[in-house]
């Protein structure tokens, strides 16, 4: 759990000549080994006409390489114990798997073969259908619909407002050439970090990487990062769907980016307002006005956002809206030493508990590295929370006054 990350003579971070990064955090006491390729690219790096291409590529990686057909690749992943998966977000695409320690070589070999997709036309078409089904599945969920609409309003034309899955139209239009071009441009060695955590031999993995990963191509074109400027119109848009029984509402207002020194304090502020024991819970849920109400802080490379919402009876909407706004407006009064210490301890313990198994630690290690460009041990991450003071949380509120909400309400009217 709270393991010493590394002996001091063995730094966890290694850079291959082609720019590919290795993060090795071995723990001889672990029972398993987990590995993941963390690719520094996601939906925000797409052209708008190609929305969904990052996620489509993520699916196609599991369709096999030139050397290994789809079924054989999936069988090898299952031979390892079936603990493999992947996800795509606005800024990252991650492929991960875990295995018993005696299978470390096979784990790394298979995961690496997965990163060399053949992108065969015969595999692309059925997978396109799978993604269209995935889009249809989420399109039925009111909480997802309202969030998609909110992000479109809040971010406007900026690619952080892209839907990760794309739309049926953009996904239908993605050709093999477009997929291949995106893969070549965005999966270059400089964008890729391989993290390995758990019971494995670091010297062996380093030697393996020196053989197998040095030929990983460097991208011809570097992805262009457009600075995040939300449209943030401060509007409240109402969407009507007479088929619904309840109202869903979602809001966004500016926060802080991943590299901001007050990033942890921003998360604490969100917890004071919208956590399980936060002011929104006591004002809205404890009183029975709504059956859910929350607020979280999301951070991106160069910006952040406080996002939250609620669901309620249609006839209570105006009352709940007023109560939600009142809590946001009264945030200053929530920031006391006791409340901050309590929230900080909860966040710190949560950080320690998440790291208890290699698969949990893998995500924190890899995602933090993508976000801030450095390795932070579990202890460091926990300490960053416990060090947060009420003064820092007040400073977050000064920088991000939470007073201009962009909102979307979806309901039967």
């Amino acid at each position: 759990m709270t393991r010493r990350a590394q002996p001091e003579d063995s730094p966890p971070e290694h850079r291959l000549p082609n720019g590919l990064t290795l993060l090795l955090e071995s723990d001889p006491a672990a029972q398993t080994v987990a590995a993941g390729y963390f690719v520094n690219t996601g939906a925000r790096d797409e052209q708008s006409s190609e929305m969904g291409v990052s996620h489509f590529l993520e699916h196609l990686m599991f369709k096999g390489s030139e050397a290994l057909p789809s079924q054989a690749l999936n069988e090898r992943l299952d031979d390892l114990g079936g603990q493999s998966n992947a996800f795509t977000s606005e800024e990252a695409t991650v492929y991960h798997a875990a295995a018993l320690p005696e299978c470390t070589g096979e784990l790394l070999g298979t995961l690496t073969e997965l990163m060399r997709p053949a992108l065969r036309p015969a595999d692309i078409e059925p997978e396109r259908q799978v993604i269209l089904e995935e889009i249809a599945m989420y399109a039925e969920q009111p909480s997802v619909r309202v969030m998609d609409a909110l992000r479109a309003d809040y971010w406007g034309a900026h690619p952080l407002g892209h839907q990760v899955l794309g739309t049926p139209e953009t996904v239908a239009a993605l050709s093999r050439d477009v997929l291949r071009r995106n893969w070549q441009e965005r999966y270059g060695a400089g964008q890729v970090t391989l993290a390995v955590v758990g019971a494995f031999n670091e010297a062996q993995v380093l030697a393996w990487a020196g053989r197998e990963l040095v030929s990983w191509a460097v991208a011809e074109a570097n992805p262009v990062i457009s600075p995040a400027v939300p449209a943030h119109p401060g509007t409240l848009r109402r969407l009507l769907d007479p088929g619904l029984t309840r109202v869903q509402a979602a809001f966004a207002t500016p926060g802080l980016g991943t590299r901001h020194p007050l990033r942890e304090a921003a998360a604490i502020l969100a917890d004071l307002i919208g956590g399980e024991n936060g002011a929104l819970y006591w004002a809205l849920v404890d009183t029975g006005l709504t059956d859910s109400a929350d607020l979280v802080h999301l951070d991106y490379r160069d910006t952040g956002v406080f996002e939250g919402g609620f669901s309620c009876d249609p006839e209570r909407l105006e009352t709940v809206l007023a109560a939600y706004r009142k809590v946001m407006a009264g945030a200053e009064a929530l920031i006391t030493d006791t409340a901050v210490r309590r929230a900080a301890r909860k966040a710190a313990v949560g950080t320690l508990l998440r790291a208890e198994a290699p698969q949990g630690r893998l995500f924190t290690l890899g995602m933090e590295y993508l976000a801030v460009g450095e390795v932070r041990t579990t202890e460091e991450l926990a300490a960053r929370y416990t060090a947060v003071t009420a003064g820092q949380v007040r400073e977050v509120l000064r920088l991000c006054p939470l007073n201009l909400l962009t909102g979307v309400v979806l309901g039967p009217g």
């Binding site: 006491a29 599991f62 799978v130 599945m137 309840r246 024991n277 709504t290």
Partner: protein
Amino acid sequence: MLCQTATLWTLEGGLRVAFERRPGPGFAFDLRVPVGSAHDPRGQEGSAAVLEEWLFRGAGGRDSRQLQDAFDDLGVRRSGGVGPEATRTGASGLLADLPAALELVADVWTRPVLPQSDLPTLLDLARQDLESLDDSPTDLLALKSRALAFTHAPGDPGSGYAHPTSGTLDGLAQISAASLHRHLEQYGQAGSVLGIVADLPEEDVLALAQRTFAGWRSGQDVQVPARFAPGGRAHLPYPDGEQTHLTLTAPGVDPRSPDWLAWQLALTALSGGSSSRLFMAVREERGLAYSVSASPTVLGGQGFLSVYAGSTPDRAPETLQVVRAELERLSAGLSDDEFRRAHAGLSASVVFGGESLRGRAHALTRDLTLFGRVRGVSGLRAEIDALTPGQVNAFLRRYTPLQDATQVTLGPGAELQSPQRQQVQA
């Protein structure tokens, strides 16, 4: 390493405690009380769910907010909730906080405030929760499926498995403070199991459990029978839906049957990983669905198979046909490769499942409940290692889930047309 074996105690009042010592700075515990939504009194459906919320509205002299703050002061992560057969409360955190966290949970069970003034709010929240199901096609599907597959017979205890955990509108209307106080008498040490994982000497853990739960009432341990009604079919029209959802429920294998592990292995081959039969046939080869799965559930001490897939309406008939064909061809058995792969997956899943403290604490209470014993990680892996292809295939020859399966579909348009009997494709 994973060679620990759990220590079991039965406390004077009947509470069973399963403890596994494990090095590390954290702890986790899981308390399973064998009263769930199936035990709701007939006509008062929703009692267990409302009662669980009510229990957390203050305990041990603390009001609702002070109780929540006390949990947060420890930084613990809480887990639990109400299921069909049990109510669970658990927590995980740092070792030094185990006694305080366990005392808080014990306060909730043994010294709740149960403020009368909060009850109308809790009933209204349950009503909101019920109404939110109308906006969730997959929840509606699961509910219909349960209602179709599991019937209630006169004389059965409780109201059974057909209603949502949140209850029914009629049931909620009949719940009162007095009825909940009466219902709470069922909850106690009888049949309850406390699983604890922590790096502490056995005697300390035993003393802690004895101290914190001394004086908790006996309660009742009554199993609600799961009466499976075979062969039912239903279609729920959902005109605005994007997809047609389908589910099949079929008999499975009871946890205490010698075939249990063979069934688990067969289900791993059917739906365990990305090369499993359902995933390959429905998703990889035909692109018919994003989500398709078959999973085991246990109700009333019996195992059941529950299959789900969702496809856009035009493609749903083919999805249903392919899913049924895969179930049909199970009885022809697994190939050696499939057996080997499913075997590796099942065996590894035991290790992965035991890695997290929370997962292990949950496994302790689950094992005691379902199997009457705790299966150690290495012991269970040895049992899995002993399975042979011949054994699994002999079981599969006898296993014909489609024969009695109930089928529920939900989506735009009319009921899916599919042949009653699918030809074996194998």
